[in-house]
């Protein structure tokens, strides 16, 4: 995979025998231990490992929960309560899984913003970035379907509203909607297939994560100064230096995680989801989970017709576009300088983008009336302008600060 040679020498006859048949120890040593890693990685780089941990936690707790859960409209709600009240340790396992989704998204957003600031998507890491965006989309789909499974009021109406988005597609919208739901409304068929797919998708995510890490190990890590590794003086071996650093920040990450699980397992949810699904009544204020709010705000911001496109389809186009646009960021950003640290003007627009994203999160939960409607439109406009206008133009107009000649020079300059 990468250009460096393996320096593994089998120590025993058994290791030699294994190495001749399946060189898995050699492979692990090369990629999990000796892998040369830039020595200036800061703590923002630990979120990759934290995300692997999040995926593992979700898969393990999820498989366990599936042993007690019943995907049927008349039993699903009660089976989740059964898990929380009767199953040994179920209260904690269910809370870890539900809270774990929020922690997963928090880490995902940090990881993605880190990539956007330090230009980690730029050549030669475009495929690495694209696979990352694909993982993000898959995790969103998985989380959405998982949220439907407890079959509370929020579950049901989230399923109705989100599948209805597809109904906006001209001509084929309605047939696709029926195909997706397996009926004329969200019902037992929908719940069953969502359970099946919710169980499948995490393993697809795991496979794409393997590709993501493969694509990382070809060029190696980007780093905070964005200057490529030039010699072995610029790197440290992954183990023990980064295994330790990752482990330390994993533990720090687990502290708020544990706080949520043990002290406030429901704080990120909605009380309405403790009412069983009822297709006759919609809760008065429906909001998605916090991690979908920015995109939900964009969906709602388009409440006007654009030429022949009606407001409903327009909202859907912008909603889908806000995620699809991430796939082409490597080609929208024209700057040759990777790291935002050396781009004095970019920095301002970047932090404004972060602020704008937080504003969209707030607006997604706010009622769609009064000043919030206008603010949502402004924030949506900035989201797209950042990618479509600011990134392409800044690369041409901005004068970056001089780059250090190498990673080791930059590290030594601080000491």
């Amino acid at each position: 995979m990468a250009s460096h040679e393996s320096n593994y020498t089998p120590g025993t006859a058994i290791e030699k025998w294994v190495d001749d048949r399946l060189p898995i120890i050699r492979w692990s040593k090369t990629h999990l231990m000796d892998f040369p890693t830039p020595k200036n990685l800061n703590f923002w780089w630990t979120f990759g490992a934290i995300l692997v941990m999040c995926l593992a936690i979700q898969i393990i707790t999820g498989v366990v929960l599936a042993m007690h859960y019943t995907p049927h409209v008349s039993l699903a709600f009660d089976s989740v309560e059964h898990i929380r009240r009767d199953v040994n340790g179920g209260r904690i396992i269910q809370a870890v899984h539900a809270t774990g989704a929020s922690m997963f998204f928090f880490a995902l957003y940090v990881h993605m913003f880190r990539g956007l600031y330090f230009g980690s998507y730029k050549a030669p890491r475009e495929i690495l970035w694209i696979l990352g965006v694909l993982i993000f989309a898959l995790v969103m789909a998985t989380a959405f379907m998982g949220y439907v499974l407890p079959w509370g009021q929020m579950s049901f109406w989230a399923a109705t509203v989100i599948t209805n988005i597809l109904g906006a597609v001209p001509v084929v919208g309605e047939p696709i909607l029926q195909l997706l739901r397996g009926g004329f409304a969200v019902d037992n068929a929908t719940l069953n297939r969502f359970f099946s797919l919710h169980y499948l998708l995490p393993f697809v995510v795991a496979a794409v994560v393997a590709l993501h890490i493969w694509a990382l190990h070809v060029p190696g890590n980007n780093n905070p100064i964005g200057v490529e590794v030039k010699s072995s003086r610029d790197t440290l071996s992954f183990h023990p230096y980064y295994t330790m650093k990752d482990a330390f920040f994993m533990v720090l990450f687990l502290i708020p995680f544990a706080w949520f699980v043990f002290f406030a397992p429901d704080i990120l949810g909605h009380p309405d989801n403790y009412i069983q699904a009822n297709s006759q009544v919609t809760p008065t204020h429906i909001v998605p989970e916090w991690y979908f709010l920015p995109f939900y705000a964009i969906l709602r911001a388009i409440d006007f017709n654009i030429l022949f496109i009606d407001s409903k389809l327009g909202g859907v186009i912008f909603f889908a576009g806000s995620i699809l646009i991430l796939f082409v960021v490597p080609w929208l950003d024209t700057s040759k300088v990777r790291s935002g640290t050396f781009r004095p003007v970019f920095k301002w627009f970047f932090w404004l983008f972060v602020l704008n994203f937080l504003a969209l999160t707030y607006l997604g939960a706010a009622p769609a009336e009064g000043v919030y409607v206008l603010l949502s439109k402004i924030a949506t406009a900035y989201y797209f302008l950042y990618f479509l206008v600011i990134l392409p133009l800044l690369g041409r107009l901005e004068t970056p600060r001089p780059l250090p000649t190498s990673i080791s020079e930059s590290v030594l300059a601080h000491h």
């Binding site: 509203v161 195909l179 997706l180 297709s279 006759q280 809760p283 409440d303």
Partner: protein, 180 residues
């Protein structure tokens, strides 16, 4: 393939019987793959038990003037509203030019049964169930994204693109209606 003829024209070798077999095999393979894929996709479509519920009968006798009920048809909620004379007047007085999805009150009801408004209770925006007797137009208000419907279930304000959808239905007698 290495016969004298192809060696003489290495750029464009003539199509051989083997080439034909490759193409034919690939074509049959694609058809077979499609044939296998289709049932695997089609199983997602509404099944026979869902389709079997496509027609229901409902007795309107117990619904007083000014009262609404929500019933279930094909898994969808359906509003049945016994409208007051004032609501009918109000709906009829609206000029079509004010409507986003122009329909007259007559088109929304059956002749001789103007007091009965029967509509699928899902907002045409994203499918929430609007709240009755509320909103700016004395009809329905959808709490999800703020669509207002009037007393004939027509969209008046907000993101919804269409009027509330009318299911196919007929009056079997003055009080018995068949939906579907």
């Amino acid at each position: 393939m290495a016969n004298p003829a192809t060696l003489a024209h290495p750029e464009t070798p003539p199509a051989t019987r083997r080439d034909f077999l490759y193409v034919a095999t690939a074509a049959v393979g694609v058809v077979a793959a499609g044939g296998v894929a289709w049932p695997l996709i089609n199983q997602l479509n509404p099944d026979a038990s869902v389709l079997a519920l496509a027609t229901i009968e409902f007795d309107l006798g117990g619904i007083e003037e000014g009262q609404s009920v929500t019933i279930k048809w094909r898994g969808l909620p359906v509003f049945v509203r016994h409208r007051t004379a004032a609501e009918i007047e109000e709906a009829k007085a609206v000029p079509l030019s004010e409507l986003k999805d122009p329909e007259t009150d007559e088109q929304r009801t059956k002749v001789g049964h103007e007091q009965w408004l029967i509509m699928i209770a899902n907002c045409t925006h994203l499918g929430c169930v609007p709240v009755g007797e509320s909103g700016d137009f004395d009809g329905w208000f959808c709490p999800c994204h703020g669509s207002h419907y009037d007393s004939a279930g027509r969209i008046r304000k907000g993101p919804a693109p269409k009027n509330l959808v009318l299911p196919p239905y007929d009056f079997i007698s003055d009080t018995l209606v068949q939906i579907g």
